[in-house]
Symmetry: C2
Subunit: 188 residues, 2 copies
């Protein structure tokens, strides 16, 4: 099975290379030839692994809708502590697990404009907001979070996190922010 394994490994290599380049330069500014050169392999061979540039994009988005979204919430932890911990780990991933970090940034980019329609739809189907709305409501009940429309608060929270992560992604030198800053948006 060495043959199949090799192919699968190469497939992953392509996906990771593409993820990095997409996050670094954006989807449209990344040529199939760029990805091929970075892997490295010939341009033509790319099409033995993915039928088209868009299929490659969709594959990445599919990966993004699965993995790190499955963060399970432990009922014993207070909502504010939980979110702080979450931010702490995702920010630390910037250096320790660039893959996870890049995927996070990438998914946020796909959800916004400037991507093929289907990719956007798929990315939007993985909804991070709804669980957070519940968390915020719980925090409001406990008195740790301020009053206000929980849905809007959740969306602002994630929009902020996305914005900050894109900033970190664009400048690797940037100091990691204190998660508390962002959670403070929600605090009572």
């Amino acid at each position: 099975m060495t043959r199949k394994e090799q192919k699968e490994e190469r497939r992953q290599a392509i996906l990771m290379t593409a993820l990095t380049l997409f996050v670094e330069r954006g989807y449209y500014d990344t040529r199939i030839a760029d990805i091929a050169a970075a892997v490295p392999m010939s341009t033509g061979l790319m099409f033995h692994y993915f039928a088209s540039k868009e299929e490659l994009l969709l594959e990445l988005v599919k990966m993004g809708t699965q993995g790190p979204g499955s963060v399970k919430y432990d009922d014993k932890i207070p909502p504010d502590v939980y979110l702080t911990m979450f931010l702490n780990s995702i920010f630390s991933f910037a250096k320790e697990q660039p893959w996870v970090f890049n995927m996070f940034v990438f998914m946020g980019q796909v959800r916004r404009v400037g991507m093929p329609e289907e990719a956007r739809r798929l990315a939007l189907s993985a909804d991070a907001v709804t669980p957070t709305v519940k968390l915020i409501k719980k925090g409001q009940k406990l008195g740790v979070f301020r009053k206000g429309n929980a849905d809007t608060m959740a969306r602002c929270f994630w929009a902020s996190v996305q914005g900050i992560m894109e900033e970190m992604s664009a400048d690797k030198e940037m100091k990691t922010p204190d998660p508390e800053w962002i959670v403070s948006m929600l605090r009572a």
Copy 2:
């Protein structure tokens, strides 16, 4: 001078139409033909107004580097109050002055990835962070802002604002957030 005036008006119409479409769909997903159809005018005529798609983009970025960046700070207002007021007005622009709001979102997009290099450079030259760093330091001295790296705080602040504005831009139904939420990121 009716002739020249007409031309200038049309030029502005093209710029505004392009701004809207770029923000709505992104630069690469917006065809010259789309802009022409929306103005409306023929595709070919577009090139009597702008030599290329990229020049049109650059023209918009140039506009963006001038206008609303010139927010003057009145020394008598406390930094936290000032930022709250600023957010309040920019958020209210979403409905009242879509043009200003769109430009703000657009500039943020251009500064990030997925745009022709020159446009990005030009957009990055209009720096909103430095003045905010000063403002934050002042707030820290006054005790209204928390301790911490002022530069990182400023960048996080604007990254959050950008993220939230893009969210508002993508969903016009979204409720406007309370500026206080975002300023709370900075508060002591």
